[in-house]
Every structure is written in structure tokens, then in C-alpha cells.
């Protein structure tokens, strides 16, 4: 059965907004995706029927709130194919990576090594640099191939018995390249290193089965996965979470507090100090369930057909350069390109006047831009609700920029 994009679009109220007489062609999903009614309704339901703090009250609203919050954790866990007790709510993807860098990082010793790649988002680089400053670990970097993939041929050279963690983007936020997780895990296991995946750009494209990947940590952001802002997720192997000290101290994360000594609650509570983002967590749970119900095999085919239409169209505009894997295999619907003689910001600004939303610039991946000696790219990132009209509006805008701005 073919994919009913109109039916998906109807679930996203914002897609029928008209700005300056034009419909919205939203192709900036990699920065933040739009949110469906199911999520908006779940948050509204909590705020209007169950609003209270969690874990602390005996009254009925507190019980409702706690149940809704823990139910959301279960929905996220189901989406990831893991157990709720292993699923930690954080303030976002960046917050989740910082949690691991601080907490797992505190178990590392000077001279231990962490392996990253050249295409990482700054949020999977800077927390490790902070750890390096704090505790003297060393950072290594896997280079990127000419077609924008992490060059796994370099793994044997870069993995050493000192390597304790390999932390890589599951899908690149610039090139859309999907990581060969199996190859990374087997090479990392051979030297006893743990593997963390930054799933920010993968989670928005359907349910996962983390245990089958053989990894140790997974992180993603709610707002890129059709959920609210201010919420993200860390999944960790239970025995690792159990060994990790807290990241922040406060309420809810304790066993027993005296001024002499405090004991920690077990995971996930240990890593959720203070009142959590209850409404956003409930919204993210609903987003995961919404994703769970979509036919992703059809959705993925639909997204990749849009990628093909986009790549074909861009190649017809003189002076465009596509950046990233040339084939549609092992990639997700993120496409970066440059246009000779026109700065990416000017492309994006022109596209805005065509009602098309894209991202332009370095995409928080400056080492990758340096690798290709680029000031930036224009990035088109898709979701299942995008359709041919979005791509055609974009192509018209790019042709216009090519004609008028150079």
C-alpha cells in the first residue's frame, strides 16, 4: 500500500498555517520537527486533568501525574525496545550527552581515551573536551570519507586498549549518512570499549531495537522526534547506569540524606534530580507512541523518494553541489548542498520568501565544515509529512537564488 501523506499531514495543525499568503514548506525537521495533535492533546490532557508534581504527593492529582509520567517513560522504552528502568529523562539530547560525559566520565582515568568522529555535532564534542580538561582523558577522532561517512577503515588504527568509549552520531545531521553500527560495536568490543550513539537524527525516523545493536548508551532529543522541547532521553545498560554516580544532586534522586552522607536512588531516578519536565515527558511519550503506529517501511520509502526528487532537481540547477552519500542506501532524509557564488544564508533567506524553511550554516559541525573547506551548506531535512510540493517549492527557490544572487 502506498503511503498516505495527506492523512499524516492532517495530524499536524501547523502545516495548514498560511504566512504572507503562502503555505509552509517545512524542511527544517533536523533542527526541530513539528508536533502532531496526539502530542498536543496528551500535554493538554495532563495540564488540564492531572497537573501536579510527581513522586512526592499522596493526593489524587499527584498520583495521576506520577502515573502519566511513568507511563510516558514506558512508551519511550517501548519505542527503543528497552526497559523503563533503563530509560532516563533528561533536559534534551545535549543534556543527555553531558550527563554521560560527566557521570560515566568520572569513572575514567587520566590517559583513558574517547573516540569521536569528524562529523559529530558540537554537542558530541564539547562535553568530551570539558571532560578532558577536568580529568585528563584523551580524545581521538575518526576522519570522514569524501562522501560524508565516518571512515570505519580507520577504526583499527584508532581503537586502542586505552579507548574506553566510542561516541558517534547514529545518523549525521549534515550528510544523512547512517552509521554501520555493527562494525563499530564489534571493533569496539574487541578492545573493551563502550559504544554510545547520538540518535538525535535517527530517532525521528521510527522505532528502534537497541538491544540488537549491541551498544551501551543511546541519546536523543524530544523536539526533533515530534515531541515537546526541553525533554530528551538517555538509555544506558542497567549495569552501567548502576555504576555511575549522579550528575546533579537534589530531590528525587536520593536514597537517604543526612548531612554526613547521602545515598543514591537507583536509575533512572538517580539521574533525574529535581522536578522533571513532566508535561514535556508526557508529550514525548505520546510522540513515541505516535511514531510506533506509523508504517515506517512505507514512510521511509516515501522520504527517500523525496530525497531522490530533491537530488535530481538540484542537479538540474547550474552550480549546485550535493554533499554526502550519493546513493540512497544507508542514509536518512537529510540533504546538504552548496550553490556556487551564493552563500548558504542567502539561499535559505530566498527560500523563506518562497515559504520554504531550511537550515543554512555550519549545522553545529564546524570540524566537518573545515574538513571540506566549506563556510556552510544549505540543509534540507525531511519528515514523513513532507510531500512533492515541498520539494518543488524548494527547487523553484533555489533556481531563483541562482538567477538573481550571482
Amino acid at each position: 500500500m502506498s503511503f498516505d501523506v495527506a492523512a499524516v499531514r492532517r495530524q499536524f495543525p501547523i502545516l495548514s498555517e498560511i504566512i504572507d499568503g503562502r503555505p509552509i514548506h517545512y524542511l527544517d525537521n533536523g533542527a526541530s520537527a513539528q508536533t502532531p495533535l496526539a502530542v498536543i492533546d496528551a500535554v493538554r490532557h495532563y495540564e488540564t486533568t492531572s497537573r501536579a508534581n510527581v513522586l512526592r504527593g499522596v493526593h489524587r492529582l499527584a498520583e495521576r501525574a506520577t502515573e502519566a509520567y511513568e507511563n510516558a517513560r514506558a512508551e519511550v522504552a517501548t519505542f527503543l525496545g528497552v526497559q523503563p528502568m533503563e530509560t532516563v529523562f533528561t533536559g534534551g539530547c545535549t543534556a543527555a550527552i553531558n550527563l554521560v560525559a560527566y557521570s560515566y566520565g568520572s569513572l575514567l582515568k587520566p590517559g583513558d581515551r574517547i573516540l569521536l568522529s569528524e562529523l559529530e555535532h558540537h554537542s558530541n564534542i564539547v562535553p568530551w573536551q570539558l571532560l578532558r580538561t577536568r580529568s585528563g582523558v584523551e580524545l581521538d577522532m575518526i576522519p570522514v570519507t569524501d562522501d560524508g561517512r565516518i571512515d570505519l577503515a580507520e577504526l583499527p588504527r584508532l581503537l586502542t586498549p586505552k579507548t574506553k568509549l566510542v561516541s558517534l552520531a547514529h545518523v549525521s545531521n549534515v550528510t544523512g549518512a547512517l552509521l554501520d553500527v555493527r562494525a563499530v560495536v564489534s571493533a569496539a568490543n574487541a578492545v573493551g570499549a563502550k559504544v554510545m550513539l547520538d540518535g538525535a537524527q535517527r530517532a525521528p525516523h521510527g522505532p528502534l531495537d537497541l538491544p540488537s545493536l549491541g551498544i551501551d548508551f543511546y541519546v536523543f532529543a524530544g523536539h526533533k522526534a515530534y515531541g515537546p522541547n526541553g525533554i530528551g532521553v538517555l538509555w544506558g545498560r542497567p549495569e552501567l547506569l548502576e555504576a555511575m554516580p549522579p550528575f546533579m544532586g537534589g530531590g528525587s534522586m536520593i536514597g537517604r540524606v543526612t548531612f554526613a552522607e547521602t545515598t543514591w536512588a537507583p536509575a533512572p531516578r538517580r539521574f533525574e534530580a529535581g522536578t522533571p519536565a513532566i508535561g514535556p515527558a508526557i508529550g514525548l511519550g505520546a510522540a513515541c507512541t505516535w511514531m510506533q503506529r506509523l508504517d515506517w517501511s512505507a514512510a521511509h520509502d516515501h522520504e527517500m523518494a523525496l530525497v531522490q526528487r530533491l537530488m535530481d532537481g538540484l542537479q538540474r540547477v547550474d552550480g549546485t553541489h550535493l554533499f554526502g552519500p550519493a546513493s540512497l542506501q544507508n542514509r536518512y532524509p537529510v540533504v546538504s548542498f552548496t550553490l556556487d557564488g551564493v552563500h548558504p544564508h542567502d539561499v535559505a533567506q530566498t527560500l523563506d520568501s518562497f515559504g520554504v524553511a531550511v537550515r543554512a550554516g555550519h549545522h553545529c559541525a564546524q570540524p566537518l565544515m573545515d574538513r571540506f573547506d566549506l563556510d556552510g551548506t544549505t540543509r534540507v531535512s525531511m519528515a514523513p509529512y513532507n510531500d512533492n510540493s515541498d520539494i518543488d517549492a524548494l527547487l523553484a527557490g533555489v533556481a531563483h537564488a541562482a538567477k538573481t544572487l550571482r
Partner: protein, 135 residues
């Protein structure tokens, strides 16, 4: 077509590339980055004994607005000292609607950017770099 921002005058200023390049032996230079968008401007100046600009050049790795602004700045900078350049800055701010009053040529070209707050830093970056160079 709703192309309010890239009006002919801005495109023409950018394409004119007035002052584009580097100076051989500048008295002073400065570089400014916009960390948000990655634009980068390098400004070289030669100064006379009174601190007035006798020659100016700029290198822009950035968008059309940044290039146009660097061109506009180069067109009016010669003969001015730091106080004179501060006057030009006021002009740019007036064009962007951030200060009251009428902007003067050539910064009137940037009036369309008043409606695009997120792009105003692109226009101001060359002025920031020149201010640093003169400091």
C-alpha cells in the same frame, strides 16, 4: 515574488566588491566572527598620523548582506577616524531601524533588513571588525 530583502541595491553593493581584498602593509587589522552563522570578516586599514583611514580593504567569508555592508563601509571609510566610523555605525543602525533618524547613503540600501532581525548582525559585522581595528 516576495523578494523584499535582496533588493537590487544590496545585490549591487555586494557585487561591486568595493575594497575587497587585503592590504600589503596595513597599520592595523582585525578579524571578527559571527559564531551563530560562521560569517567571518577581516579588515585591514592604513592610517595617517591623526588616526584617519587612508586605505581600507576587507575580506568577507559570509553572506551577501555582509559583503554588501563591507562594500558600503569601504566606500565611505577613507578620511574618517574612529569617531567618524562611529557616525557610520549610527547610520547603519538607523537603516536597520535600531536607532531613530534617517540613514545616509549608502546605508539606506539596508532599510529592507529592518524587517529581518535575524540578519542584522550580518550587516553590522564589518563595522564591528573595523571598530576593533581602530581600537
Amino acid at each position: 515574488m516576495n523578494d523584499q530583502l535582496y533588493q537590487d541595491r544590496i545585490v549591487a553593493l555586494a557585487k561591486a566588491k568595493t575594497g575587497a581584498g587585503r592590504l600589503e602593509a596595513p597599520t592595523k587589522s582585525a578579524r571578527r566572527d559571527n559564531p551563530l552563522c560562521g560569517d567571518r570578516v577581516t579588515i585591514d586599514v592604513k592610517l595617517d598620523g591623526q588616526g584617519r583611514i587612508t586605505e581600507i580593504a576587507h575580506q568577507v567569508r559570509g553572506c551577501l548582506l555582509c559583503q554588501a555592508s563591507a562594500s558600503a563601509l569601504s566606500a565611505v571609510a577613507v578620511g574618517r577616524d574612529a569617531a567618524g566610523i562611529a557616525e557610520v555605525r549610527h547610520d547603519a543602525e538607523r537603516a536597520l531601524g535600531r536607532q531613530a533618524g534617517e540613514a545616509h547613503e549608502p546605508f539606506t540600501a539596508f532599510v529592507p533588513v529592518a524587517a529581518h532581525k535575524s540578519r542584522q548582525e550580518c550587516v553590522l559585522l564589518p563595522l564591528e571588525a573595523l571598530k576593533d581595528a581602530l581600537a
